[in-house]
Assembly symmetry: C2
Homo-oligomer: 133 residues x 2
């Protein structure tokens, strides 16, 4: 099963997983790393590297980060050369839920594309959503 790893500032990633589990039930092979500093370090890169190795069951790991340009994203980008890692920025709850559902049916590249679209589609002004229904 493709691994889902959320790397974020503070406990954002853990709370996203908790919220997703409240809605979907327990998620296997899903984890989060909290970054509480505004600059990266070799130690953090090593701990991400270990986590990826543990979570990769052969089908790869989708890393979801909170914001392009932030430390969690910058740290994650160093793993992009690895063909078993895909990095998607701007994580929100619908993206996590979509990825958790779709990873049973799609390979890593397609999973990233679908989670990206699900995340974007979920962002809407509620008044406009209700009018268009």
């Amino acid at each position: 099963m493709i691994g889902l790893l959320i790397i974020s500032h503070c406990e954002l990633g853990n709370e996203l997983l908790k919220a997703a589990e409240l809605i979907m039930g327990r998620l296997e092979n899903a984890d989060a790393i909290a970054i509480t500093q505004t600059s990266g370090s070799q130690e953090m890169i090593d701990s991400i590297s270990e986590k990826i190795e543990t979570m990769n069951e052969g089908e790869g790991v989708l890393i979801l980060t909170d914001m392009f340009g932030g430390t969690p994203s910058n740290l994650s980008l160093s793993f992009l050369g690895d063909e078993k890692v895909e990095v998607l920025t701007g994580v929100n709850l619908p993206m996590v839920i979509s990825a958790a559902q779709d990873r049973h049916h799609f390979a890593l590249g397609d999973l990233g594309e679908r989670a990206k679209e699900a995340g974007k589609r979920s962002i809407a002004l509620a008044g406009q959503l209700l009018k268009s229904e």
Copy 2:
């Protein structure tokens, strides 16, 4: 100043505010409500209503929710009739940071539109982002 109120499952909203403050410094008139149940209640509606009243300094309150269709969004939708409330779904960190910056320069309707676009724009596959730069 327009209020920023994040209503989410679990502590997602509080962690988004913590992450935004780690990056931007202390945010005034910004708060979060954590919903830990999968169904709403009159008590929750009352507590959101009180929070909106406290946070509305005349320019209104932008409510950011985690997912359209979830309990936090459903509860928030009952305040849509109020012209001083706008509800934006699918909250992520770039949306919070954008809204926190823009609320000094835009009225509530425009702020919602801009935060929506910032949130959508921030969701990208990092490999594609790097190639296009």
